[in-house]
């Protein structure tokens, strides 16, 4: 079994109340792969410039990630500069330099089209559609997106939605796409575009999965100190799809378990800058938080004979 991810590889500079880092490893495909590779084999499609440090590629290959799909082209790697201020509730992009990512055109190396599960991270929905056409045999296709595409390429995005099984999106994005402030109503209107389920990411409030006949409310793992929230969503998706591929099951219960795995993985991501929280992470650590989350949410079935 294997999981295909198509997304960005970036060098991030980030400032949070707990410190700052400059040009560290980042990007949606990286966070996803760093998480999912704890469970299964990852086929990665992305692009970097000639300036991209080889140590980062080495990290990925050491994790068993197939990097044949990571194009190295002339020019500079995608750079993102951001700042988080929790007291002011600010998430601010200070600078975005797409560089080689501006002309990114995903090309699947031989064999990648046989990936069992597919994750299309937040990229141009036209590119997402192109990839989807090449992986029509995949068992599960999952898409992420962002406000920029919802506003600017709505039609293409709706087409992509029509070709996937699950949409994983932030709460604000779900509401924007559906033009509804009610999350239940919003998710249901996105289901009409095609996906069988919408997973709504709510940050420190957890996640919700809404399907035609299913509703699952997942907690967030309580983290004392969020050093850097960058990559939380993509590593959540990585834990989610990585678990599913490993479990070889796509039942409603497996999807729920996968969300809890994604939640646990993301809680390690945000405790450190870059992907540092995932570097030495072991599956036993994830399993421990899985059990904790079970305890944190348990309440007795019977109602004390009321």
């Amino acid at each position: 079994m294997s999981v295909l991810v198509v997304g960005s590889v970036a060098l991030d500079s980030v400032e949070t109340p707990f410190g700052s880092v400059t040009e560290v490893l980042g990007g949606s495909a990286v966070y996803f792969a760093a998480a999912a590779s704890l469970y299964t084999k990852i086929n990665l499609v992305a692009v970097v410039g000639a300036d991209f440090p080889t140590e980062h590629i080495q990290f990925l290959t050491e994790r068993g990630v197939d990097t044949r799909g990571l194009e190295v082209v002339e020019g500079q790697t995608f750079r993102w500069v951001g700042r988080y201020d929790y007291e002011q509730h600010i998430t601010e992009t200070l600078d975005t330099r797409l560089n080689v990512f501006a002309d990114f055109h995903p090309t699947l190396p031989p064999g990648y089209d046989n990936s069992d599960l597919v994750f299309l991270a937040n990229i141009d929905p036209d590119l997402q559609c192109e990839v989807l056409n090449q992986v029509s045999g995949a068992q599960l296709k999952v898409v992420d997106t962002m406000n920029f595409w919802i506003r600017g390429k709505n039609e293409s995005l709706c087409r992509a939605m029509g070709a996937v099984d699950i949409a994983i999106m932030d709460e604000s994005e779900v509401c924007l796409l559906a033009r509804s402030h009610n999350i239940v109503a919003a998710a249901r209107s996105i289901l009409k575009l095609g996906p069988k389920a919408v997973i709504v990411k709510r940050g420190e409030h957890g996640a919700i999965m809404i399907g035609d006949d299913d509703y699952f409310i997942a907690p967030a793992y309580p983290v004392d100190q969020v050093k850097d929230p960058t990559g939380a969503g993509d590593s959540f998706a990585g834990g989610f799809l990585g678990y599913l591929d490993h479990a070889k099951e796509l039942t409603p219960q497996a999807l729920r378990q996968a969300i809890i795995h994604g939640t646990a993985v993301a809680s390690f991501t945000i405790a450190e800058f870059s992907i540092d929280g995932l570097r030495s992470l072991r599956r036993a650590d994830i399993a421990h938080r899985y059990q904790e989350l079970k305890k944190f949410t348990h309440f007795d079935d019977k109602e004390s004979n009321l």
Copy 2:
């Protein structure tokens, strides 16, 4: 068994995207009593003016609420005028006329001091302390508050916190009182003031109970249409304490069950204006949503033999 509630009785005028109402029954003690009276006997302490419609008092007595503690004095009943705009995330107080509530001084009729459980709704913390001195034998004392008192009467509020078992507060209030943006850290610093547990209300994101050795994450019940969020928190507290009094148990598991009851009750409150969602509510309706919430949050314990 019985529950004492001290709080406000008001005539509310409310505008939401789903309509508007004028001078309808409201107030923290009313929402609490309307919910808790579904489970047990309520002793109510509050004040109204001579203009207060007798039909409202009749509603309370029909629910078995002891209204001997509801003083009727010369003058006008407390009026509140508010507006909710969900799209703009606005909760706006347009007018507050305290009227007779400005001089409210809670007096406990004979027998009220034997109440088993006590809820001090959001009133002046000096008054909360006065009541707490008179009910020192109660099994469980619970307090609510608001930003106004956190800023204006911080010392009195901290004294009240030192004399209760549980604080039920909105997320923003918890953060303000503890001066921390991290909800886990904030709740833990409030525990140091005295309560054995802090219940953090997060609106559509559910609630969290944080104790010295316990952590419980409760979901919100998914509501398609929030007609009027007024009273959600007080009816949550009513379901919580009403259930506990009825169950005659204060174990960690009973507290968790009580939070789910409060959650279910509040979901009925916000589906209608005023207390209309609670008027014909039956315990079987609450039990049904309790079971639904159990289903919405369930995930398997084992991890598919990973």
